[in-house]
């Protein structure tokens, strides 16, 4: 105990730590960027020239539309990872932000408000009636609007902890889609905010700069899939970048401290309420991105797409990939989104053909998700690609317990 060593200089250990995580991040970023570009080149330039039989395999097993949809899931999962993975706040109502983002796109990029006529670098050629704002501007507006709603929902609910917080977020995740669902006649004046069950359709095509050879026009419609895909990738990359940067900074450390031990964090001077609200706001903003992109992918906004199961699927993606590790979460989102959109259906078709059965595989997808979650909790609690710090401690848990334990998880009264 009394041995003395010269304290290592503070800068050297810190820069070593940063370099290690930096190298890891660079490796993953290269893998994902490389894969994204390969996929684009393949679907845009190679696939159309390939043999029909090859084409049909890709069309049924991995169509580009599935990849586009996966990107929506990836963006939302990255956002949810900030709330659940970084700050440790269990949010079961994340679909609310996805819906708000989607409807923001519906309001600002369609003829929905047909009594006004406003266009701002909108769809080309310009359309009369309604509000038509440029896709990229709508993206920013939706993110800001969702962040605002994150704060509005968070301010009363974040005073709760653990299970109670989860239940209240569950409630908001139901309320907001229901508001849109029944939003064709709100209040005594019977305002129509959402067209009710019909949804808002169609949403303007996506504005995109002509940065790639062969792109026609300045807007991308339903059929310009590989091009749209590459722009969706850019938005996902932005989300990854933002969450990695925040993670390294002061706010990221504060989230981590709250996740590890809220009481101790407040003793270090971390402002609990503000820090948690920031997590909600940033997470919600990414949900807004996801919503706008989803509206663009579908070409409209339909209320029954925003149901509770989306929140749970997103949570399953985060848990499967590895809570707190952005890269793992992306893998988790890709895998589950693919299973949901095409994988399970195709496996079912193949299985039924081979064994002459008629099992409806897609109908059992939640059975599969539930099974995955149970198996993960039993055998790989930290996810497929665990966050580095989680991995180390789950392995060392027993050592810590022997050494006298660390967590007194008694209920504490904290004035937030």
């Amino acid at each position: 105990m009394a041995t003395t060593t010269a304290p290592k200089s503070p800068t050297s250990t810190k820069s070593a730590r940063a370099a290690k995580s930096g190298a890891n991040n660079r490796r993953w970023a290269l893998i994902f960027a490389g894969a994204a570009i390969l996929v684009f080149v393949f679907y845009q330039y190679l696939l159309p020239h390939l043999d029909q039989s090859v084409k049909s395999v890709f069309d049924s097993w991995l169509p580009i539309s599935t990849l586009e949809e996966s990107l929506v899931w990836i963006i939302c999962a990255i956002g949810l990872n900030i709330v659940v993975g970084y700050a440790g706040l269990l949010d079961l109502g994340y679909v609310a932000f996805w819906a708000i983002g989607g409807y923001t796109a519906g309001w600002l990029m369609s003829s929905f408000f047909n009594n006004v006529d406003f266009s701002f670098f909108g769809v080309i050629p310009p359309q009369p009636g309604g509000i038509h704002i440029n896709f990229w501007i709508v993206l920013v507006i939706a993110a800001a609007f969702c962040a605002l709603w994150g704060v509005i929902i968070g301010a009363p609910t974040l005073r709760l902890k653990g299970d109670y917080l989860a239940i209240v977020t569950l409630g908001f995740g139901e309320i907001i889609p229901q508001v849109f669902y029944n939003g064709d006649c709100i209040g005594p004046a019977c305002w129509n905010v959402s067209n009710g069950t019909q949804g808002i359709y169609p949403v303007d095509s996506m504005n995109a700069p002509k940065i790639l050879p062969g792109m026609k026009g300045a807007t991308l419609g339903i059929f310009d899939q590989p091009y749209k895909y590459i722009f969706f990738c850019l938005v996902a990359a932005l989300c990854v970048f933002v969450s990695l940067r925040i993670r390294e900074g002061r706010l990221g450390r504060a989230w981590l401290a709250i996740r590890e031990d809220e009481l101790a964090a407040s003793m270090m001077g971390v402002p609990l309420m503000r820090t948690k609200l920031a997590a909600y706001a940033v997470g919600a903003a990414m949900g807004g991105f996801g919503g706008v992109i989803f509206a663009e992918y579908v070409g409209g906004v339909v209320p029954d797409r925003f149901n509770f199961s989306i929140s749970i699927t997103l949570l399953a993606m985060v848990v499967l990939g590895g809570m707190g590790n952005v890269w793992g979460v992306m893998v988790g989102a890709l895998v589950l989104a693919w299973i949901n959109a095409t994988g399970l259906k195709q496996i079912g078709v193949t299985f039924n053909q081979v064994f002459h059965t008629s099992i409806n595989f897609p109908a059992n997808n939640y059975l599969l998700f539930g099974g995955i979650l149970v198996l993960m909790m039993l055998f790989r609690r930290a996810g497929l690609f665990p966050e580095m710090r989680t991995k180390a401690v789950l392995e060392e848990d027993e050592v810590a317990d022997d050494a006298g334990g660390t967590h007194l998880s008694d209920p504490e009264e904290v004035t937030a």
């Binding site: 105990m1 009394a2 041995t3 003395t4 060593t5 010269a6 304290p7 290592k8 503070p10 800068t11 250990t13 810190k14 730590r17 002061r250 450390r253 504060a254 981590l256 401290a257 590890e260 031990d261 009481l263 101790a264 964090a265 407040s266 003793m267 270090m268 001077g269 971390v270 402002p271 609990l272 710090r389 989680t390 180390a392 401690v393 060392e396 848990d397 050592v399 810590a400 050494a403 006298g404 660390t406 967590h407 007194l408 504490e412 009264e413 904290v414 004035t415």
Partner: protein, 251 residues
């Protein structure tokens, strides 16, 4: 307090008051944890609050650092009333708390734990200096600087808890049961270090069940029992009074 001092000369204390608690009452629901407590801490002292389980010692510390709101009474720190202020505002004023049960961040390295201790400090050079000071006081932490805190022994975790609180560069350091669960030799080591911290100029309010060890290093002591203040006085005087030791300090 001043009236007491007149007929009890050993109560005379030098140094200006840093923290003054007056008529503090704290409740958990309907249960009174602390009732009508008054105490003060003067600059440069180690003041200890001793007492058995449930005496209200930890509650007092938590109330000072803004984790619990008091029902009645005032807490004055360097001339400002701080009762009911939020935790981060209290830390900003220079009161840092090393909590009961250590509560280090187990999944973070020692280094990251120390970093978080300096969460509100903006001056990088000052933080680096403070970090060097902590590592000098606890050389063991320097050896383990990149180890996950949860994998360290109890004594090392306690050192980290104290070191982490010191990273906030406190004017007043609150220590809650730093001897809990430690072998006697480690208790001595921790307490020697606490004395060293005082000698370097940090005022300390120490809450302890291990009364004799606390009285050995403290300048002034308060004895609490079931939420009430029972006794106060010069720490050395108290520890020499056999009747008091038998009645309150489990000696």
């Amino acid at each position: 307090m001043s009236a007491q001092t007149a007929d009890q000369p050993w109560l005379a204390r030098t140094g200006e008051p840093m923290l003054e608690i007056a008529n503090l009452s704290v409740f958990y629901g309907n249960i009174a944890a602390v009732q009508d407590l008054s105490l003060d801490v003067r600059k440069g002292e180690i003041v200890t609050v001793v007492g058995s389980n449930g005496a209200g010692k930890s509650t007092t510390l938590r109330t000072i650092s803004g984790l619990i709101k008091p029902r009645k009474g005032t807490i004055t720190f360097q001339g400002d009333q701080i009762q009911g202020k939020k935790g981060n505002e209290v830390v900003r004023r220079g009161i840092c708390h090393s909590p009961e049960g250590r509560r280090i961040f187990p999944r973070m390295t020692v280094d990251e734990n120390l970093d978080l201790g300096a969460f509100l400090q903006n001056d990088k050079a000052a933080v680096a200096a403070e970090r060097d000071r902590v590592l000098e006081l606890f050389p063991r932490l320097a050896e383990r600087i990149n180890q996950k805190a949860g994998t360290m022994s109890g004594g090392e975790q306690q050192m980290l808890a104290v070191g982490r609180a010191m990273m906030g560069n406190p004017t007043l350091l609150l220590l809650d049961e730093p001897s809990m669960g430690l072998a006697p030799i480690l208790v001595d080591l921790i307490f020697d270090t606490i004395e060293k911290i005082r000698d370097q100029g940090t005022t300390i309010l120490l809450v302890e069940q291990n009364a004799l060890a606390a009285l050995r290093i403290a300048d002034y002591a308060y004895v609490m029992e079931s939420g009430h203040l029972k006794l106060e006085g010069d720490a050395k005087q108290l520890s020499r009074d056999d009747a008091i030791v038998r009645a309150y300090l489990g000696g």
